[in-house]
């Protein structure tokens, strides 16, 4: 039951976003030059930004881009962490210590700072899609150490399990042991790691975007939406400018509750 509440809320948010994109006449990049910084109207339900782009559509598109990007990055990061953790767990102790030192080094460095640096080193002419893909790939590449530690510890405990010893005694190869025994046993550990990464990546993207280093315009993103709050003329005209920040907080709350419930399940 506890699991279902955040899942239902998440589904509702996604459905609402999908419905907006389906029924709206405008694309996220379409600029209505006759309705620049418009307040809420029948045509633009939550008004427009300083370029005349429909805010409802942009928020809905940002929701999908953010969720898909963060979910893909979380899947990649969990996969990297699983490989790294398993490699360390099944290596000799000196190799494992070295691998865990590397991971600890990554874990100790300020994440956003690394992200900012990696993201800034893209070519100046990168397209919006390239910036979006790179932003989430960089997130995936830098987010694995925390998960790798958890997986390493999980795999270490499995390594000495009795059924593993029996498997080895029966002549199963390491690859078979990992595929048939370790991965299914690690699944309850991998899912929470994935769910924890999704909101963390959304927050990181929002922070990067607010610094002008996230997904490139005109593609909508939470970070770019937060930049709207710097426009005092927009703020004076409509309270709908606060919609992205309110929706982002709601989404993060849902995702964090989801991860919390799954972690304690």
């Amino acid at each position: 039951m506890k699991k279902r509440i955040p899942a239902v809320f998440l589904l509702l948010v996604i459905l609402a976003g999908g419905l907006v994109l389906r029924v709206s006449r405008y694309g996220y990049a379409f600029q209505d030059r006759g309705a620049i910084m418009a307040p809420s109207t029948a045509e633009h339900w939550t008004g427009t930004d300083e370029l005349g782009r429909d805010r409802t559509v942009r928020v809905a598109a940002a929701l999908f881009i953010g969720l898909m990007g963060a979910a893909a990055a979380a899947a990649i990061t969990t996969a990297i962490a699983a490989c790294f953790g398993l490699l360390a767990a099944f290596s000799p102790s000196s190799v494992a210590a070295l691998l865990m030192f590397l991971s600890d080094g990554f874990l100790s460095l300020p994440w956003l700072f690394l992200l900012m640096m990696a993201r800034s080193l893209l070519p100046l002419t990168a397209s919006p899609l390239e910036t979006a893909v790179t932003t989430f790939l960089v997130l995936a590449a830098l987010g694995w150490p925390a998960c790798a530690h958890a997986i390493y510890r999980g795999a270490r405990s499995l390594r000495s399990a009795e059924w593993m010893i029996q498997g080895r005694a029966c002549g199963l190869k390491s690859r078979q042991l990992i595929r048939l025994h370790i991965v299914p046993h690690l699944r309850p550990l991998l899912l929470p790691q994935f769910l924890v990464c999704v909101p963390a990546f959304l927050v990181a993207e929002a922070n990067l975007g607010a610094l002008g280093l996230g997904v490139g315009e005109p593609m909508p993103s939470w970070g770019a939406m937060l930049l709207e709050l710097d426009n005092s003329a927009l703020l004076a005209r409509s309270h709908w400018v606060y919609l992205p920040i309110a929706l982002l907080a709601l989404l993060l709350l849902i995702l964090e509750s989801f991860a919390e419930v799954e972690t304690h399940a």
Partner: protein
């Protein structure tokens, strides 16, 4: 021996950060881009000079050698953007950032401890009392800073404190909940020992190693939050310098700032009791 191990580990971490930064910078797709090339104020001759200058730094080895030479000279090289020694640039900003970090972390911890201690002891209603912290966790640092500016209330220290408090509250609460449930604490409570005595004599000594590791993590969290906070509140600190270096591809400043960050984290890790790893905290 343990101290030597910690010092060695911190030095290795710094070396790792420096090598990582140099490799990242060298093999980044935008390594050959220089934002000054798009600045119309530079004359053709100046552009040619800049091109020749960047041509000299083609391999990671050359960059590393140059960096080491400049560290040995104590200057950390010359900033591309400001054309002054990097050490001079960073030196002026370190104090501002250090003060902000110290105030933010101290106040954040104070808030987290004051809230987590009574809430962890509750049998019911803990979820509701923790809700403000859960909400704070769901707000990105940049959004919180922008909200403060719009509301004309609070400043960088408040935002940093709230961020640290929200994050540490979660860990502190689960640590304290575990501690309250331990058998010797139950016996102490049954014998009528005052809560403050229990906290001072039993809980704090038991969770001290985890608290130290958490404190190290707080520094890492605060350093990460420093950039958006300093940029949005226009605080002239290291975070703002890092952002400006990133925007202008000022590589010597980037390498120096990443080394500084790694040194701070390495030093904090060295001071904290590392019997407990960061992950275990």
């Amino acid at each position: 021996m343990a101290i030597a191990m910690r010092v060695g580990r911190s030095l290795l971490l710094m070396l790792f950060a420096a090598a990582g930064t140099i490799l990242l910078v060298r093999f980044a797709p935008g390594f050959f881009s220089d934002s000054r090339e798009m600045d119309a104020r530079y004359a053709q001759a100046a552009r040619a000079e800049m091109e020749a200058e960047s041509d000299q730094q083609q391999s990671a080895n050359q960059i590393a050698t140059q960096e080491v030479k400049s560290w040995l000279n104590g200057g950390f090289g010359q900033s591309r953007q400001y054309n002054v020694p990097v050490a001079e640039l960073i030196g002026a900003r370190v104090r501002v950032s250090a003060l902000l970090l110290a105030q933010g972390i101290l106040r954040g911890w104070l808030l987290a401890v004051c809230a987590a201690l009574p809430i962890s002891g509750l049998r019911r209603g803990g979820f509701l009392w923790s809700l403000p912290f859960t909400l704070l966790l769901a707000i990105p640092a940049s959004a919180m800073a922008t909200a403060c500016i719009l509301a004309n209330a609070g400043g960088p220290v408040l935002v940093l404190s709230l961020l640290i408090a929200a994050r540490e509250f979660k860990f502190l609460r689960s640590l304290l909940e575990g501690a309250w449930r331990s058998p010797h604490l139950l016996q102490g409570r049954a014998r009528g020992l005052a809560p403050m005595v229990l906290v001072r004599a039993h809980i704090v000594p038991n969770i001290a190693p985890q608290l130290c590791a958490l404190a190290t993590l707080s520094i890492v969290t605060a350093l990460g939050a420093l950039v958006p906070i300093e940029v949005i509140f226009t605080v002239p600190g290291v975070g703002q310098l890092a952002w400006s270096a990133v925007m202008n591809r000022d590589l010597p400043v980037l390498v120096a700032v990443s080394l500084l960050m790694a040194s701070v984290v390495g030093f904090a890790g060295m001071l904290s009791a590392r019997d407990v790893t960061l992950e275990e905290a």
